[in-house]
């Protein structure tokens, strides 16, 4: 098992994100290589949850873009599996392939 942000595709933010931890989360997100997706797991990561206080970031989507939100505190295992399947469905519809590679245009040589 390799725990390295560089080689991963999905980052699951599980648990409460505090303001102190927010810089670390942002740094790990920046270290990931494209293409990357983010799952916010649980109520605390999605929106701050029941911790409306001075030290908790109210939702990790304030610092990084999130693709799938999983509700629950904590989410049931079935909910996490469904969240992963929803992410798979989202990836299947991604348009980035079309933006980066246009297979319909013929290759032109420099003249």
């Amino acid at each position: 098992m390799r725990f390295s942000p560089r080689q991963s595709d999905v980052m699951i933010v599980a648990g409460t994100v505090t303001y102190k931890m927010a810089t670390a989360v942002k740094r790990i997100y920046d270290q990931m290589t494209e293409p990357k997706w983010v799952i916010a797991m649980g109520a605390c990561a999605s929106s701050g949850g029941m911790y409306r206080s001075y030290a908790v970031l109210q939702g990790v989507d304030q610092i990084i873009p999130v693709d799938v939100y999983i509700a629950g505190c904590p989410p049931r295992p079935e909910a996490i599996l469904e969240g992963l399947m929803k992410l798979q469905g989202k990836v299947a519809k991604e348009p980035w392939v079309k933006n980066h590679f246009k297979p319909t245009e013929p290759v032109r040589c420099a003249q």
């Binding site: 725990f3 409460t16 505090t18 102190k20 670390a24 029941m50 206080s53 001075y54 030290a55 904590p74």
Partner: protein, 437 residues
């Protein structure tokens, strides 16, 4: 393993071999003149005094939770360690000043989130001590709370041992302990409605009674889990690799353990026979027959063995509870403390008023302050409640065992090698949710 610093450095050079910081001419000088050894070693020390600063960051697979360790290392050996906590500080104590006593129970779930039932029970016991209700809690409620505490203890130790074994390399043990935890989750879900974060107890009693047939399923589970303990024993306890990694690692002496305020298996591993269930018995612990395992050397292996033995003692207590549990009410008879039954609330005026007062204002606590400490799986969990009357506390301080257990790290780690750090962290068994609150 604390050797003389100069000798250590010389030994390190020899081990590193070709990665030499010393030029060849000085090398010859050392080898030729033994009398110049100390002088040359000092020059060696000047050249090699560049220590490496390594940051075991908050997001790391081997630190259990979000703990940051700033390690200053000389090669593999650690010379200075500074833990940096607070990455999971959510402001629980400030939130408690704005909540009634019953409203704070879900926050106590998430303190030591590996044993939420135990936290619920201990918090409610603290509030009941403040209200003066300790003697009035019915018998059945006390037995059910004891069952919850001991089940939580087994669950927390299973995870602690599983994660510790996984960090030292034994991945099978981790999967073994987690199958047993799944069974505990199933039992807890039948009892409280949630696998985790149960919020089961209320001030003055419990939220619901035991479901039918739950005690039979619990006895069946206890038989299965003892088989699992034996299997984990055969995998780890006399395993030479595990022994090599944990014996004589992280030795805490008896006086250090008391001076640094350790509690739980960490304190007992160093030879101090202090268990809050025996020292200041709360609930009905003085009725049960169980032993307190105490270690001798205070190393990581002792703490592992104590956790294994404690789980077996918990199974013993659970068996005694299942045999002796009586029938009866589960809530205190006082209308001002425990919510009355819904039929009475809908029909009678007095119960309606009580329900309204308890839900909106909370139980009326007297002016005063108490401290209640109880034996959490991680150590002594304490609640200090200072009340100025009314339904919300003026100050609620949570004495978290993991916070105090971690303070010993800057004293304990220097002198050990990098891979020992992982073993030491696993053996201290802390939870950051509790440490940072």
């Amino acid at each position: 393993m604390r050797t003389h610093p100069v000798a250590n450095r010389v030994a390190v050079t020899q081990r590193i071999g070709r990665i030499n910081f010393v030029s060849t001419t000085q090398d010859i000088e050392i080898r030729d003149t033994a009398t110049k050894a100390t002088g040359a070693a000092n020059e060696l020390s000047d050249l090699q005094c560049e220590k490496m600063v390594l940051n075991m960051g908050p997001s790391h697979p081997a630190t259990h939770g979000v703990l940051r360790l700033k390690l200053e290392m000389d090669g593999e050996v650690i010379t200075k360690a500074e833990p940096d906590i607070g990455y999971l500080h959510r402001g629980d104590e400030k939130i408690a000043e704005n909540m009634t006593y019953n409203q704070f129970i879900p926050y106590t779930d998430r303190l030591d989130y590996l044993a939420p039932l135990a936290n619920n029970v201990h918090y409610v016991l603290a509030v009941e001590k403040l209200l003066g209700l300790e003697a009035k809690i019915p018998e059945r409620c006390q037995y059910i709370r004891t069952i919850c505490c001991e089940l939580a203890r087994i669950s927390a130790h299973l995870l602690g041992l599983g994660a510790f074994a996984m960090d030292t390399g034994a991945f099978t043990v981790f999967l073994h302990t987690f199958t047993e935890r799944e069974k505990i989750y199933y039992l807890i879900e039948e009892l409280t409605g949630a696998r985790f974060t149960t919020s089961y107890t209320r001030v003055g009693g419990l939220s619901r009674n035991l479901p039918e047939n739950w005690l039979n399923e619990l006895s069946k589970f206890l038989d299965e889990v003892e088989v699992n303990f034996d299997e984990t024993d055969t995998l780890l306890t006399r395993n030479p690799i595990f022994l090599e990694r944990t014996q004589d690692v992280g030795i805490i002496s008896r006086s250090e353990a008391i001076d640094f305020g350790l509690s739980g298996p960490n304190l007992r591993g160093s030879g101090v026979e202090h268990d809050v269930r025996r020292a200041n018995p709360y609930m009905i612990y003085d009725r049960f027959d169980f032993e307190i395992p105490v270690g001798t050397k205070g190393d990581a292996y002792d703490r592992y063995v104590i956790r294994m033995l404690e789980m077996r003692e918990s199974v013993k207590i659970l068996r005694q509870c299942i045999k002796d549990i009586p029938e009866g009410p589960i809530n205190v008879d006082d209308g001002k403390v425990a919510l009355p039954s819904k039929e009475k609330v809908m029909t009678s005026m007095e119960e309606l008023i009580h329900q309204f007062m308890i839900v909106t204002q909370g139980q009326a606590a007297p002016v005063g302050e108490i401290y209640f400490g109880a034996e959490n799986p991680k150590g002594e969990l304490g609640f200090y409640i200072h009340s100025l009357g009314g339904g919300t506390p003026h100050r609620l301080k949570i004495r978290a065992p993991s916070f105090v257990n971690l303070s010993i790290l800057s004293h304990l780690l220097p002198g050990y090698m990098m891979s020992d750090v992982v073993a030491i962290l696993g053996s201290l068994d802390f939870v950051m949710g509790e440490c940072d609150r």
